[in-house]
Symmetry: C2
Subunit: 224 residues, 2 copies
Protein backbone atom coordinates (compact mmCIF):
# COMPACT_ATOMS: atom_id res chain seq x y z
CA UNK A 1 0.00 0.00 0.00
CA UNK A 2 1.40 3.33 -0.97
CA UNK A 3 1.58 6.23 1.43
CA UNK A 4 1.60 9.89 0.51
CA UNK A 5 4.24 11.84 2.44
CA UNK A 6 3.25 15.51 2.82
CA UNK A 7 6.77 16.80 3.34
CA UNK A 8 6.28 20.18 1.69
CA UNK A 9 2.95 20.84 3.43
CA UNK A 10 4.46 19.91 6.78
CA UNK A 11 7.43 22.23 6.24
CA UNK A 12 5.18 25.16 5.33
CA UNK A 13 2.83 24.50 8.23
CA UNK A 14 5.76 24.30 10.68
CA UNK A 15 7.12 27.54 9.23
CA UNK A 16 3.76 29.28 9.68
CA UNK A 17 3.61 28.15 13.32
CA UNK A 18 7.09 29.53 14.03
CA UNK A 19 6.21 32.75 12.19
CA UNK A 20 3.16 33.20 14.44
CA UNK A 21 5.39 32.66 17.49
CA UNK A 22 7.86 35.26 16.20
CA UNK A 23 5.07 37.77 15.67
CA UNK A 24 3.75 37.15 19.18
CA UNK A 25 7.22 37.95 20.59
CA UNK A 26 7.41 41.13 18.52
CA UNK A 27 3.91 42.19 19.60
CA UNK A 28 4.72 41.59 23.26
CA UNK A 29 7.78 43.84 22.92
CA UNK A 30 5.78 46.42 20.88
CA UNK A 31 8.23 46.04 18.00
CA UNK A 32 6.96 46.40 14.42
CA UNK A 33 8.68 43.95 12.08
CA UNK A 34 9.31 44.76 8.40
CA UNK A 35 10.58 42.19 5.88
CA UNK A 36 12.49 43.69 2.94
CA UNK A 37 12.80 41.58 -0.21
CA UNK A 38 14.59 42.39 -3.47
CA UNK A 39 16.95 41.24 -6.19
CA UNK A 40 20.67 41.21 -5.44
CA UNK A 41 22.01 44.72 -5.90
CA UNK A 42 18.73 46.63 -5.77
CA UNK A 43 20.00 48.62 -2.81
CA UNK A 44 18.40 46.97 0.22
CA UNK A 45 21.21 47.91 2.60
CA UNK A 46 21.44 51.42 1.14
CA UNK A 47 17.72 51.95 1.75
CA UNK A 48 18.12 50.70 5.32
CA UNK A 49 21.07 53.06 5.91
CA UNK A 50 19.07 56.01 4.51
CA UNK A 51 16.13 54.98 6.72
CA UNK A 52 18.36 54.90 9.81
CA UNK A 53 19.74 58.34 8.91
CA UNK A 54 16.23 59.76 8.47
CA UNK A 55 14.67 58.25 11.59
CA UNK A 56 17.50 57.88 14.09
CA UNK A 57 16.23 60.71 16.31
CA UNK A 58 12.64 59.47 16.27
CA UNK A 59 12.70 55.68 16.22
CA UNK A 60 14.90 53.03 17.77
CA UNK A 61 15.59 50.25 15.31
CA UNK A 62 17.61 47.08 14.76
CA UNK A 63 18.37 45.09 11.64
CA UNK A 64 18.55 41.39 10.82
CA UNK A 65 20.71 40.73 7.76
CA UNK A 66 20.02 37.60 5.73
CA UNK A 67 23.06 36.43 3.77
CA UNK A 68 23.81 33.26 1.82
CA UNK A 69 27.48 33.44 2.80
CA UNK A 70 29.28 34.18 6.07
CA UNK A 71 30.63 37.57 4.89
CA UNK A 72 29.22 40.41 7.01
CA UNK A 73 29.57 43.31 4.56
CA UNK A 74 25.99 44.54 5.10
CA UNK A 75 25.79 43.92 8.85
CA UNK A 76 29.06 45.83 9.30
CA UNK A 77 27.56 48.86 7.55
CA UNK A 78 24.55 48.85 9.89
CA UNK A 79 26.78 48.57 12.95
CA UNK A 80 28.95 51.43 11.63
CA UNK A 81 25.73 53.46 11.47
CA UNK A 82 25.36 52.87 15.21
CA UNK A 83 22.58 50.28 15.17
CA UNK A 84 22.38 46.68 16.35
CA UNK A 85 22.59 44.18 13.49
CA UNK A 86 22.37 40.42 13.65
CA UNK A 87 23.50 38.41 10.66
CA UNK A 88 21.75 35.20 9.62
CA UNK A 89 23.95 33.12 7.31
CA UNK A 90 21.59 30.80 5.46
CA UNK A 91 24.46 28.56 4.37
CA UNK A 92 23.60 28.90 0.69
CA UNK A 93 19.84 28.78 1.15
CA UNK A 94 17.91 31.18 -1.08
CA UNK A 95 15.61 32.78 1.52
CA UNK A 96 15.12 33.38 5.23
CA UNK A 97 12.51 31.35 7.09
CA UNK A 98 10.71 31.72 10.41
CA UNK A 99 13.04 29.34 12.22
CA UNK A 100 16.08 31.43 11.22
CA UNK A 101 14.43 34.60 12.52
CA UNK A 102 13.40 32.75 15.67
CA UNK A 103 17.07 32.03 16.37
CA UNK A 104 18.04 35.64 15.74
CA UNK A 105 15.40 37.24 18.01
CA UNK A 106 17.14 36.48 21.35
CA UNK A 107 20.23 38.32 20.04
CA UNK A 108 18.24 41.51 19.53
CA UNK A 109 17.42 44.24 22.10
CA UNK A 110 13.66 43.86 21.55
CA UNK A 111 12.79 45.72 24.74
CA UNK A 112 14.66 48.80 23.54
CA UNK A 113 13.50 49.16 19.92
CA UNK A 114 10.44 50.25 17.96
CA UNK A 115 11.19 48.76 14.55
CA UNK A 116 12.90 45.57 13.43
CA UNK A 117 14.04 45.62 9.80
CA UNK A 118 14.71 42.20 8.31
CA UNK A 119 16.77 42.27 5.11
CA UNK A 120 15.97 39.04 3.32
CA UNK A 121 18.38 37.22 0.99
CA UNK A 122 18.71 38.92 -2.41
CA UNK A 123 16.26 36.94 -4.53
CA UNK A 124 13.04 37.87 -6.36
CA UNK A 125 11.53 34.38 -6.11
CA UNK A 126 12.14 32.24 -3.01
CA UNK A 127 11.60 34.73 -0.14
CA UNK A 128 7.97 35.25 -1.27
CA UNK A 129 7.02 31.76 -0.08
CA UNK A 130 8.11 31.93 3.55
CA UNK A 131 6.44 33.94 6.31
CA UNK A 132 8.88 35.19 8.94
CA UNK A 133 6.55 36.62 11.55
CA UNK A 134 7.22 40.23 10.57
CA UNK A 135 4.11 42.43 10.22
CA UNK A 136 4.48 43.58 6.64
CA UNK A 137 6.53 43.13 3.49
CA UNK A 138 8.31 45.64 1.27
CA UNK A 139 9.95 45.03 -2.10
CA UNK A 140 12.76 47.24 -3.32
CA UNK A 141 13.02 47.40 -7.09
CA UNK A 142 15.69 49.39 -8.87
CA UNK A 143 15.63 51.21 -12.18
CA UNK A 144 18.52 49.27 -13.81
CA UNK A 145 16.70 45.95 -13.22
CA UNK A 146 14.20 46.92 -15.91
CA UNK A 147 10.53 47.80 -15.99
CA UNK A 148 9.33 44.28 -16.89
CA UNK A 149 10.11 42.59 -13.56
CA UNK A 150 6.52 42.52 -12.17
CA UNK A 151 5.45 40.71 -15.34
CA UNK A 152 8.28 38.15 -15.08
CA UNK A 153 8.50 37.58 -11.32
CA UNK A 154 4.89 38.17 -10.21
CA UNK A 155 4.72 36.26 -6.93
CA UNK A 156 6.95 38.53 -4.89
CA UNK A 157 4.74 41.58 -5.52
CA UNK A 158 1.51 39.94 -4.36
CA UNK A 159 1.90 40.04 -0.57
CA UNK A 160 3.60 43.40 -0.13
CA UNK A 161 2.38 46.65 1.41
CA UNK A 162 4.94 48.99 -0.12
CA UNK A 163 7.25 49.10 -3.11
CA UNK A 164 10.35 51.28 -3.15
CA UNK A 165 11.64 52.08 -6.63
CA UNK A 166 15.31 52.84 -5.96
CA UNK A 167 18.11 54.34 -8.12
CA UNK A 168 15.77 56.88 -9.72
CA UNK A 169 18.90 59.00 -10.31
CA UNK A 170 19.68 56.59 -13.17
CA UNK A 171 16.38 57.22 -15.02
CA UNK A 172 18.05 59.62 -17.51
CA UNK A 173 20.48 56.89 -18.61
CA UNK A 174 18.20 53.85 -18.79
CA UNK A 175 15.06 52.96 -20.78
CA UNK A 176 12.65 52.42 -17.91
CA UNK A 177 8.94 53.15 -18.29
CA UNK A 178 7.83 53.99 -14.74
CA UNK A 179 4.13 53.78 -15.64
CA UNK A 180 4.52 50.35 -17.27
CA UNK A 181 6.41 49.11 -14.21
CA UNK A 182 3.84 50.42 -11.71
CA UNK A 183 0.89 49.15 -13.76
CA UNK A 184 2.51 45.69 -13.62
CA UNK A 185 2.74 45.83 -9.84
CA UNK A 186 -0.80 47.25 -9.44
CA UNK A 187 -2.29 44.47 -11.56
CA UNK A 188 -0.91 42.00 -8.99
CA UNK A 189 -1.51 44.16 -5.96
CA UNK A 190 -3.90 47.13 -6.28
CA UNK A 191 -3.27 48.41 -2.73
CA UNK A 192 0.51 48.73 -2.84
CA UNK A 193 2.02 52.10 -1.89
CA UNK A 194 4.87 53.31 -4.13
CA UNK A 195 7.93 55.29 -3.09
CA UNK A 196 10.36 56.65 -5.66
CA UNK A 197 13.76 56.92 -4.02
CA UNK A 198 17.39 57.56 -4.88
CA UNK A 199 19.70 56.40 -2.12
CA UNK A 200 22.54 58.11 -3.98
CA UNK A 201 21.00 61.62 -3.87
CA UNK A 202 18.58 61.07 -0.98
CA UNK A 203 15.60 62.07 -3.12
CA UNK A 204 12.32 60.65 -1.85
CA UNK A 205 13.79 59.19 1.35
CA UNK A 206 11.83 61.66 3.52
CA UNK A 207 8.45 60.55 2.12
CA UNK A 208 9.29 56.87 2.66
CA UNK A 209 10.64 57.48 6.18
CA UNK A 210 7.57 59.48 7.15
CA UNK A 211 5.23 56.67 5.96
CA UNK A 212 7.30 54.12 7.91
CA UNK A 213 7.34 56.21 11.08
CA UNK A 214 3.54 56.66 10.93
CA UNK A 215 3.18 52.92 10.50
CA UNK A 216 5.28 52.24 13.62
CA UNK A 217 3.29 54.79 15.65
CA UNK A 218 -0.06 53.34 14.50
CA UNK A 219 1.14 49.83 15.43
CA UNK A 220 2.28 50.92 18.86
CA UNK A 221 -0.99 52.76 19.51
CA UNK A 222 -2.85 49.60 18.55
CA UNK A 223 -0.72 47.46 20.90
CA UNK A 224 -1.58 49.90 23.73
CA UNK B 1 13.68 1.36 13.89
CA UNK B 2 14.19 4.69 12.22
CA UNK B 3 14.93 5.03 8.55
CA UNK B 4 16.85 7.84 6.90
CA UNK B 5 15.15 9.08 3.74
CA UNK B 6 17.69 10.50 1.30
CA UNK B 7 15.21 12.66 -0.61
CA UNK B 8 17.61 15.46 -1.47
CA UNK B 9 20.41 13.12 -2.53
CA UNK B 10 17.99 11.16 -4.69
CA UNK B 11 16.71 14.30 -6.37
CA UNK B 12 20.22 15.52 -7.14
CA UNK B 13 21.32 12.13 -8.39
CA UNK B 14 18.24 11.84 -10.65
CA UNK B 15 18.94 15.34 -11.95
CA UNK B 16 22.56 14.45 -12.74
CA UNK B 17 21.43 11.37 -14.68
CA UNK B 18 19.00 13.40 -16.77
CA UNK B 19 21.67 16.07 -17.31
CA UNK B 20 24.03 13.39 -18.67
CA UNK B 21 21.28 12.19 -21.02
CA UNK B 22 20.69 15.76 -22.24
CA UNK B 23 24.39 16.22 -22.90
CA UNK B 24 24.51 12.97 -24.82
CA UNK B 25 21.67 14.23 -27.07
CA UNK B 26 23.48 17.52 -27.63
CA UNK B 27 26.76 15.75 -28.41
CA UNK B 28 25.06 13.44 -30.89
CA UNK B 29 23.61 16.46 -32.68
CA UNK B 30 26.96 18.33 -32.46
CA UNK B 31 25.28 21.16 -30.54
CA UNK B 32 27.23 23.06 -27.89
CA UNK B 33 25.04 23.96 -24.92
CA UNK B 34 25.61 27.09 -22.86
CA UNK B 35 23.79 27.82 -19.59
CA UNK B 36 23.47 31.54 -18.77
CA UNK B 37 22.81 32.46 -15.15
CA UNK B 38 22.31 35.90 -13.61
CA UNK B 39 20.29 38.13 -11.32
CA UNK B 40 16.96 39.43 -12.59
CA UNK B 41 17.59 42.45 -14.79
CA UNK B 42 21.31 41.91 -15.46
CA UNK B 43 20.60 41.80 -19.19
CA UNK B 44 20.57 38.09 -20.05
CA UNK B 45 18.17 38.48 -22.95
CA UNK B 46 19.95 41.61 -24.18
CA UNK B 47 23.27 39.72 -24.25
CA UNK B 48 21.62 36.88 -26.16
CA UNK B 49 20.13 39.32 -28.70
CA UNK B 50 23.53 40.98 -29.16
CA UNK B 51 25.12 37.53 -29.56
CA UNK B 52 22.57 36.59 -32.22
CA UNK B 53 23.26 39.86 -34.04
CA UNK B 54 27.02 39.28 -33.95
CA UNK B 55 26.99 35.62 -34.97
CA UNK B 56 23.89 35.17 -37.14
CA UNK B 57 25.93 34.80 -40.35
CA UNK B 58 28.39 32.34 -38.80
CA UNK B 59 26.50 30.16 -36.35
CA UNK B 60 23.03 28.67 -36.22
CA UNK B 61 21.58 28.96 -32.73
CA UNK B 62 18.44 28.42 -30.69
CA UNK B 63 17.43 29.62 -27.26
CA UNK B 64 15.65 28.07 -24.29
CA UNK B 65 14.09 30.70 -22.03
CA UNK B 66 13.56 29.81 -18.39
CA UNK B 67 10.80 31.87 -16.78
CA UNK B 68 9.01 31.62 -13.45
CA UNK B 69 5.78 32.90 -15.00
CA UNK B 70 3.95 32.10 -18.26
CA UNK B 71 4.69 35.50 -19.83
CA UNK B 72 6.87 35.12 -22.93
CA UNK B 73 8.44 38.59 -23.07
CA UNK B 74 11.97 37.22 -23.56
CA UNK B 75 11.11 34.34 -25.89
CA UNK B 76 9.15 36.77 -28.10
CA UNK B 77 12.25 38.96 -28.45
CA UNK B 78 14.34 35.97 -29.59
CA UNK B 79 11.70 34.94 -32.13
CA UNK B 80 11.51 38.53 -33.40
CA UNK B 81 15.27 38.26 -33.97
CA UNK B 82 14.56 35.32 -36.27
CA UNK B 83 15.69 32.46 -34.03
CA UNK B 84 13.87 29.49 -32.54
CA UNK B 85 13.04 29.95 -28.88
CA UNK B 86 11.37 27.52 -26.51
CA UNK B 87 10.04 28.82 -23.23
CA UNK B 88 10.15 26.75 -20.06
CA UNK B 89 7.72 28.07 -17.45
CA UNK B 90 8.99 26.74 -14.13
CA UNK B 91 5.67 27.50 -12.40
CA UNK B 92 7.28 29.66 -9.77
CA UNK B 93 10.34 27.46 -9.30
CA UNK B 94 13.60 29.39 -8.82
CA UNK B 95 15.81 27.53 -11.32
CA UNK B 96 15.78 25.26 -14.35
CA UNK B 97 16.64 21.60 -13.89
CA UNK B 98 17.69 18.81 -16.22
CA UNK B 99 14.18 17.38 -16.49
CA UNK B 100 12.82 20.70 -17.69
CA UNK B 101 15.52 20.94 -20.37
CA UNK B 102 14.86 17.31 -21.32
CA UNK B 103 11.25 18.22 -22.09
CA UNK B 104 12.31 21.25 -24.13
CA UNK B 105 14.89 19.44 -26.31
CA UNK B 106 12.39 17.70 -28.65
CA UNK B 107 10.90 21.13 -29.47
CA UNK B 108 14.25 22.37 -30.76
CA UNK B 109 15.76 21.92 -34.25
CA UNK B 110 18.89 20.23 -32.84
CA UNK B 111 19.90 18.85 -36.25
CA UNK B 112 20.06 22.35 -37.69
CA UNK B 113 21.91 24.32 -35.03
CA UNK B 114 25.43 24.74 -33.67
CA UNK B 115 24.74 26.43 -30.35
CA UNK B 116 21.96 26.11 -27.80
CA UNK B 117 21.73 29.01 -25.39
CA UNK B 118 19.80 28.29 -22.21
CA UNK B 119 18.71 31.38 -20.30
CA UNK B 120 18.16 30.23 -16.74
CA UNK B 121 15.70 31.84 -14.32
CA UNK B 122 16.91 35.19 -12.97
CA UNK B 123 18.45 34.20 -9.65
CA UNK B 124 22.00 34.35 -8.24
CA UNK B 125 21.54 31.38 -5.90
CA UNK B 126 19.37 28.44 -6.94
CA UNK B 127 20.49 27.78 -10.55
CA UNK B 128 24.05 27.05 -9.34
CA UNK B 129 22.94 23.77 -7.77
CA UNK B 130 21.36 22.09 -10.79
CA UNK B 131 23.21 20.66 -13.78
CA UNK B 132 21.23 20.90 -17.00
CA UNK B 133 23.41 18.94 -19.40
CA UNK B 134 24.77 22.01 -21.13
CA UNK B 135 28.55 22.03 -21.68
CA UNK B 136 29.49 25.19 -19.85
CA UNK B 137 28.16 27.96 -17.63
CA UNK B 138 28.30 31.72 -17.96
CA UNK B 139 27.28 34.33 -15.41
CA UNK B 140 26.20 37.79 -16.48
CA UNK B 141 26.81 40.44 -13.86
CA UNK B 142 25.85 44.06 -14.34
CA UNK B 143 27.43 47.24 -13.08
CA UNK B 144 24.35 48.54 -11.19
CA UNK B 145 24.17 45.33 -9.12
CA UNK B 146 27.30 46.43 -7.27
CA UNK B 147 30.86 45.20 -7.05
CA UNK B 148 30.35 43.12 -3.90
CA UNK B 149 28.21 40.36 -5.40
CA UNK B 150 30.97 37.67 -5.68
CA UNK B 151 31.63 38.12 -1.96
CA UNK B 152 27.93 37.83 -1.05
CA UNK B 153 26.70 35.15 -3.51
CA UNK B 154 29.85 33.04 -4.01
CA UNK B 155 28.41 29.72 -5.17
CA UNK B 156 27.22 30.82 -8.58
CA UNK B 157 30.72 31.96 -9.65
CA UNK B 158 32.43 28.68 -8.81
CA UNK B 159 31.41 26.50 -11.74
CA UNK B 160 31.51 29.03 -14.56
CA UNK B 161 33.83 29.37 -17.56
CA UNK B 162 33.08 32.97 -18.44
CA UNK B 163 31.75 36.08 -16.76
CA UNK B 164 30.19 38.89 -18.73
CA UNK B 165 30.15 42.24 -16.94
CA UNK B 166 27.25 44.03 -18.64
CA UNK B 167 26.05 47.66 -18.58
CA UNK B 168 29.59 49.07 -18.56
CA UNK B 169 28.07 52.22 -20.12
CA UNK B 170 26.78 53.01 -16.61
CA UNK B 171 30.26 52.97 -14.98
CA UNK B 172 30.50 56.80 -15.02
CA UNK B 173 27.31 57.09 -12.94
CA UNK B 174 27.81 54.29 -10.40
CA UNK B 175 30.41 53.53 -7.74
CA UNK B 176 31.66 50.19 -9.03
CA UNK B 177 35.26 49.07 -8.48
CA UNK B 178 35.92 46.73 -11.44
CA UNK B 179 39.16 45.39 -9.89
CA UNK B 180 37.47 44.61 -6.56
CA UNK B 181 34.66 42.82 -8.40
CA UNK B 182 37.00 40.74 -10.57
CA UNK B 183 39.28 39.88 -7.65
CA UNK B 184 36.21 38.54 -5.85
CA UNK B 185 35.33 36.28 -8.78
CA UNK B 186 38.94 35.15 -9.29
CA UNK B 187 39.27 34.16 -5.62
CA UNK B 188 36.43 31.70 -6.21
CA UNK B 189 37.38 30.72 -9.74
CA UNK B 190 40.90 31.52 -10.95
CA UNK B 191 40.30 30.30 -14.52
CA UNK B 192 37.26 32.40 -15.38
CA UNK B 193 37.43 34.52 -18.54
CA UNK B 194 36.03 38.07 -18.24
CA UNK B 195 34.19 40.05 -20.89
CA UNK B 196 33.27 43.70 -20.35
CA UNK B 197 30.18 44.46 -22.40
CA UNK B 198 27.59 47.16 -22.90
CA UNK B 199 24.51 45.81 -24.65
CA UNK B 200 23.29 49.38 -24.93
CA UNK B 201 26.28 50.64 -26.97
CA UNK B 202 27.51 47.29 -28.27
CA UNK B 203 30.97 47.81 -26.74
CA UNK B 204 32.81 44.55 -26.13
CA UNK B 205 30.22 42.34 -27.83
CA UNK B 206 32.66 41.44 -30.65
CA UNK B 207 35.27 40.05 -28.22
CA UNK B 208 32.65 37.94 -26.42
CA UNK B 209 31.12 36.69 -29.69
CA UNK B 210 34.52 35.75 -31.07
CA UNK B 211 35.36 33.73 -27.94
CA UNK B 212 32.00 31.97 -28.13
CA UNK B 213 32.36 31.18 -31.83
CA UNK B 214 35.82 29.69 -31.24
CA UNK B 215 34.38 27.59 -28.46
CA UNK B 216 31.67 26.21 -30.73
CA UNK B 217 34.21 25.43 -33.47
CA UNK B 218 36.56 23.68 -31.02
CA UNK B 219 33.66 21.60 -29.69
CA UNK B 220 32.54 20.58 -33.16
CA UNK B 221 36.09 19.67 -34.17
CA UNK B 222 36.32 17.50 -31.03
CA UNK B 223 33.00 15.77 -31.83
CA UNK B 224 34.37 15.02 -35.29
Amino acid sequence: MSKIVHVVEDIMSANDDLAAQNQYKLNTARVLGMNIMASPGSGKTSVILRTIEALRDELRLSVVEGDTAPVSIDADKIIQAGMTAVQINTGGNCHLDANMLRQALPELPLGEIDLLIVENVGNLICPAGFKLGTHFNVVIASVPEGDDKPYKYPNIYRGIDALILNKTDLLPYIDFDVDYFKRGVQMLNPDVVFFDVSCKTGAGVDVWASWLKNRVRAFQAQQG
